[in-house]
Symmetry: C2
Subunit: 200 residues, 2 copies
């Protein structure tokens, strides 16, 4: 068969990304294949390669969608909060929430290695940076006299640390197999970093 034009290229791209996300959630990101995505949207692999540069390209689109979803969830919840410290804690709370609810999609964001031939698109990097910037903004509000570079440094350390707890827990590589609560571990980190930040 030849041209069908049931859907535009953009529609097919969106359908493929959504189908891929659904497959990742259902059977895990290890079992995501081009043929599964294609058959899920009623097309053939060839069509996917007409719309995406690569399979990695498709994955990066899935990851962009994941980050957007996660950021939206977080922003929806911190909008109600006025206290910068509470906002940071809320960010972490829903970061963990999202990662726990969608473990495979979340892991795909951090465990997918784009081939060196294909550079990570600037949009994806920017999206990832959004979370760091939100933490920095609230730290700045917490102590307006701090120099910007120090604030960003602290925000990077704190958010990376939270991420570390999250990924070790979700991959089952945490000490004692996750006998500790992720939320409490993260609270400890936030308490420590914020107290130290206030003191300096």
């Amino acid at each position: 068969m030849g041209r069908r034009s049931d859907h535009s290229r953009d529609e097919i791209r969106d359908m493929a990304v959504s189908a891929a996300a659904k497959i990742v959630e259902k059977v895990g990101y290890q079992s995501l294949t081009a043929r599964k995505v294609a058959s899920e949207i009623g097309y053939t692999v060839g069509t996917l390669y007409h719309v995406f540069h690569n399979f990695d390209d498709l994955i990066m689109h899935v990851n962009a969608q994941t980050i957007d979803e996660m950021a939206a969830l977080i922003q929806r919840h911190i909008r109600k909060k006025r206290n910068p410290e509470v906002r940071i804690r809320t960010m972490a709370e829903y970061y963990v929430q999202y990662a726990t609810d969608h473990p495979d999609r979340w892991r795909l964001v951090f465990e997918h290695e784009p081939p060196r031939s294909l550079a990570t698109p600037a949009r994806l990097k920017e999206r990832r940076d959004v979370m760091f910037e939100m933490v920095a903004d609230n730290l700045r509000e917490l102590s307006p006299e701090s120099v910007s570079h120090e604030v960003e440094h602290t925000a990077t350390a704190l958010w990376s640390g939270i991420h570390g707890i999250c990924i070790l827990a979700l991959t089952g590589k945490l000490y004692l197999g996750g006998a500790f609560s992720m939320v409490k571990l993260i609270d400890t980190l936030i308490d420590s970093v914020i107290n130290e930040f206030r003191r300096v």
Copy 2:
């Protein structure tokens, strides 16, 4: 050809693990294949399957070796230190050192997902836990009156945080693309957690 017996099964297993580790370091863990390992040691894939249960089984052996190497490096350096706080800082220093020097082998430890059919061997888990326990031991020495569970909780939070900084930096997913020094970020985390730990 049939039986050669140039090497015992144990020898072949060790050769394969070393060859695999070398390949991972040279061309990256994404490019590690069973056939490359086999040809590197002068055998065929079939022989690998005579010695390993799986390709994942081979990888877990590689990871065990990696963790042992890393733990040995760290222990060699903290033996000279007497102060528990200095020991924790030294641990982090050489953790980063090892990860930076052998990025692909280090990442393989944390990004290899064993299939749910094949359970992670207890030995591998124990090896991973060694690092957490070393941190806990030194925290305990730092404040002997603390209850054991609190100490382990703090150690888990701190070491997971350090790991988070490390993995985001090494995978190029850190805020501002690693414009911050890994060592300084980790120092910030250690300062914060240890100060807070002392206070409680």
